[in-house]
Symmetry: C2
Subunit: 402 residues, 2 copies
């Protein structure tokens, strides 16, 4: 008998029929003798609908009340799922944020779970299924707080740790993590096992299977995850620690992001604090800076800094840079039609020649590399957007992922 | 400076624009220096939508979870209204059932408010507007409970008592209580002042302005009410104690109900307990029996009992009567196309001739009376349904209500 967290995302509970289907998945675990805590998202579209309502009242809608508003979405799913389970003669009960309670710290709309009371629910698990709305908790003051978009993954992982469950299964609308986007790269394959950090690189690069911060928490506390589909019986992808994985391949997957823009600031004064002065106002304006590459400039007293951002932020970013009195530079250039293609693999670090192989492959496909950035388990290049799929396919093939 | 409860019904908060309008009404009170606790319903249609969802999972959806589900409706309105007030620079804060807390007793879906904590909200009223979702509370066990359809009126009245407010204003989509249905009787007039019991007779007869049970609570605790429109500035109807009213007219209003059916059981044994034996199984089947009239039969050892029910319950009722082994009778007759027309007025009891005037008026209009029932402040007749509006118009005229 295992104690499990099962988390169901918005599309998995998007209609009444799907909620009934989720109830059947849970009943199977229950009949098998497992103890289940189900974490549910709001029905798909619901959170956006509520946010739209709030914005039509006030673009800067009060954050405390926004949390009260949004938390209703998961509350509805939790009640419906509890009713659907009882309909199947499975004992079940919903626990709202304040009923558990789930304690959070930090700002409204962006808090984090720090603790939860376990004894009452642990007792109930001997009899039935506990259902908890994801994405929410209460603060020390007794206010409802939410933990950021996609926060139901974070709830699942945090409660897996706090309730000391044997596993944490993320049910979603894809059946696992793929070696690349299966919609665009038909030869992409499902990955059976992956390490947390590979998963992190893949998910933050656009695999969109799980919230990166939830993967990070799992990595810190070594919570074994499984990502699987609500709509098929197929096995999903299991996410573990490095040590528990066996690397037959150096590269696990090829990820890419689109709608990027690249900015280069040429001839920046090369002295301490320049990068901080440069990026502070961008951070204040909530512009998400992705890759940052710094090169020594030709004259050695100045340097060139290249970074990428989302294309929609390009104009705003240029304005902020031009207004910035704290940095001196010669000029700014930009390219607003670039993409980032990355190979990810925990085995890369121990496999010589991966970098060379990647560059050679791209050269064979006559794809020009505009910038390069590397980490222990990732190698990213910026290329012209039009070449994205060609690059991904080529890399997928040369690293034996097809 | 007054402390007020303002209650806004479902149509009053039915759209974002209406919620913004309600915020303006509250701001006016706030600018005037009044302390306001706003009680809100779910946006119109929302509760029905949630009930429909629950029924599509299970016709007998678990009641505890139904309360969790439904309470989300008022929660959404409370958060949106708080945000709308803050947008107008009015300090405001929502308090959910468990945050007040509002304590209830009784069954799920049909509980009643017994107490609420006041100090925190009373302190806050010195600075801003407190917003509380109607229709809900929490039980001793910490479960969410709801207090029956239309329960936001009951919340308003209960909190008016517990918070010792100076008034309780019910904002709705009509601008007060009328002497009859203004949609059908164009000469119907708005009543400026009315007593609790007249209001009760009018509301339970279909005036639909306020929940009867909430009027009843107001009557017991002498909470002055005002029913007024969210959509006009016009004065509404004030609802008081008898003693505070001045009766220039014997009859305050003419009410009617449709879709009724009349059943007569002829030749029932005339002995103690017969009526109880007759109505117990109907009560068990949740059939709402309205008027009951008992006459001595011709042979003096038996009696005839006539009662009215809603037309939809007719077949079910007949079946139950025919199966009932505990009563003996000669036969059952029924008329499935009747209506009830009533004149209501606290001044009736002290005005001679009201009864005669009513019967004379109906005779002049050639309307046959099928049954008669009287109380201190009400006189009801059952007539053929086709004559309903003719009767209401006639009575409205002869009692000087036009």
């Amino acid at each position: 008998m295992l104690k499990k967290i099962l988390k169901f995302g918005g599309t998995s509970v998007g209609t009444i029929e799907r909620i009934q289907h989720v109830a059947k998945i849970i009943k199977k675990e229950y009949d098998f003798g497992n103890k289940v805590i189900a974490i549910v998202s709001a029905m798909s579209g619901k959170t956006n609908e509520l946010i739209k309502m709030s914005k039509s009242i006030d673009e800067e809608f009060d954050k405390r009340e926004l949390d009260v508003l949004l938390s209703s979405g998961e509350q509805v799913t939790a009640a419906l799922l509890a009713g659907a389970l009882k309909r199947l003669n499975v004992k079940a009960k919903s626990w709202l944020n304040w009923q558990v309670p789930i304690l959070t710290e930090g700002k409204h709309f962006n808090s984090r779970i720090v603790n939860a009371r376990t004894n009452e629910i642990d007792n109930f698990l001997n009899e039935g299924i506990a259902i908890i709305p994801g994405f929410q908790g209460i603060s020390k003051n007794g206010d409802i707080t939410t933990i950021g978009r996609g926060g139901s993954d974070a709830t699942a992982v945090a409660l897996a740790k706090i309730f000391k469950t044997d596993s944490c299964e993320i049910y979603t609308d894809v059946d696992g993590v793929y070696s690349s986007d299966p919609n665009k790269i038909p030869v992409a394959k499902k990955i059976e096992k992956i390490s947390y950090d590979e998963m992190l690189e893949l998910s933050s690069l656009g695999a969109k299977v799980m919230q990166p911060s939830a993967v990070q928490t799992s990595m810190i506390y070594k919570i074994p995850l499984e990502v699987r589909s609500t709509f098929t019986d197929r096995k999903g992808t299991r996410i573990f620690d490095h040590e528990n994985l066996d690397y037959s391949k150096s590269v696990t997957g090829v990820a890419y992001s689109k709608d990027d823009a690249k900015l280069t600031i040429i001839g920046v004064e090369d002295k301490p604090g320049v990068a901080a002065n440069l990026f502070e106002p961008l951070n204040d304006a909530q512009i998400n800076v992705d890759m940052v590459i710094q090169n020594i400039s030709s004259d050695e007293k100045t340097t060139d800094i290249t970074f990428t951002i989302k294309r929609v932020d390009l104009l705003k970013t240029k304005k902020i840079l031009e207004k910035n009195q704290n940095i001196k530079y010669k000029k700014i250039t930009h390219n607003d039609k670039v993409s980032k293609v990355s190979i990810v693999g925990a085995g890369m670090v121990s496999t010589p020649g991966v970098t060379y192989k990647m560059f050679k492959g791209l050269a064979e496909s006559k794809i020009n590399i505009l910038a390069i950035s590397t980490s222990e388990i990732k190698l990213s290049v910026i290329i012209n957007e039009e070449n994205t799929l060609k690059a991904v396919k080529k890399l997928h093939t040369i690293f034996d992922l097809d």
